[in-house]
Symmetry: C2
Subunit: 219 residues, 2 copies
Amino acid sequence: MGIAAARRMHEPLDDRAFDVLFREARTYNAWLDKPVEDGQLRQLYDLMKWAPTSANSNPVRLVFIRTERARQRLLPALAAGNIQKVLTAPVTAIIAYDVKFFEKMPKLFPHNPRMRDMYANAPELVEVTARRNSSLQGAYFILAARSLGLDCGPLSGFDNAKVDDEFFGAGRECEGCDQEFFPEGHVKSNFLCNVGYGDPASLLPRLPRLEFEEACTLL
Amino acid sequence: MGIAAARRMHEPLDDRAFDVLFREARTYNAWLDKPVEDGQLRQLYDLMKWAPTSANSNPVRLVFIRTERARQRLLPALAAGNIQKVLTAPVTAIIAYDVKFFEKMPKLFPHNPRMRDMYANAPELVEVTARRNSSLQGAYFILAARSLGLDCGPLSGFDNAKVDDEFFGAGRECEGCDQEFFPEGHVKSNFLCNVGYGDPASLLPRLPRLEFEEACTLL
C-alpha cells in the first residue's frame, strides 16, 4: 500500500456507516418477508474472511441453513425461547470451528511450516485458539452482514452437543458419510446467528450499555 | 425505528467502507509517528459498546496502555516476538473480561432480575459466556477502530496469567489496592491489541484465505 492509499484508510468512515454497523443496528427476532440470496452469503464470507485471526488460522466454519428440511434438524437443539426465532428467519448460520484448523496452515501460513506442527502438538492451545478466533470471526460475520444491509439475530441458547452430533458427526466414525459437511467429527458449534431483514415493528426500546468508566481504564 | 429508517439500514455500505473494514485493512506491527488521543479511545468504545452480546452481558473490560510506565509492566508477559510491536505502538489495549459481569445485569438487563442469579449460580456458563462474548467484543473493537481510521495489531502471544497478576490482582486479596483498576481479582485477559496508524512501508504481501467452499456449506 502506498502513502496516499494509507492516508485514505486513515480517514474515518461517515455517520451512516457508524449507524449501520453500531449505533442504530439492532438484534432482531422477527423478520420481513424478504429473502436472503446465496450470493449475499458469498459476499458476506468474502468480506469477513479478510479480518484478522491468530497466525492467519481462520478456524471458523459456517453452515448456512436455508431450507425447511435443514431447519428441522436444528430445532431439537434449541432452547424453547429460540425456536420461533429460527423458524421465521430466512437464514440461520451455525458459527462453528474446526479443531483441526491447523491442517490448512500450509496454505494459510506458508512461510512457516512449523506452525502446523506447533498446533498439532498442543491440543489445549488448539481449543483456546479455535474458540477465541471463531468468536472473533463470528463478530466479523455480524458486522459484515450489517455492512451489506442485512440484520442479525445471534443466539447462544442451544445445546452445542446436539448440534455437533446432528451436523458435524461428533464422535462418529465417518466411513460412508462423506456426503455430509465436515464428516470427520472435528468441527464444533460456537453460536448461531439468524440473518435476514429485521422487522422494525418488532423492536423494543434499546437496553443500556456500560459507561466508559465502568468498562475501561486509561493507564 | 420507522419503515423509512429501516429501509436506509438495509442499503449496503459502499466500497470504501468494505475496504476500510475488511478488504484493504491489514494487521500492523510498525506504526507511523502519529499519536492516538484519549478522545479517540472514547469514541471507539462508544461505537463498539452497541454491538450485541449474550443477554446484553457486555463482559469485556478494556485497559488502554498509553504511558511508558504502564507499557513496561506489560513487557515481561510478552512472547519475545511481540515485545518490539508493543514498545512501538501508540496504544496497547488489554482486551479482558469480568467473570463477575453478572453483577452489572440489574443495569444491563433490568426487565429480568433472575438473569443475574442464573449466571451467579453457573460458574462454567459464566466462563464460556465471558470468553465468547469478550472475544466478540474484541472483534467489534478492531472493526470500530478501523471505522475511525485507526489500524490494529491484535496479539495473543503472551502469558495471560502474568498479565492477570500484574494488572488485575489475580488471586490477591485487595484491601488497600483500590486505586488500581478492577482490584478484586475477577478480571482476566483475553488478548492484546495494538492501536495506531500503521506504517504501510512495513507491510508484507497478504496471506491467503480459505475459499468459500473450504469454510462454508449451504444446507
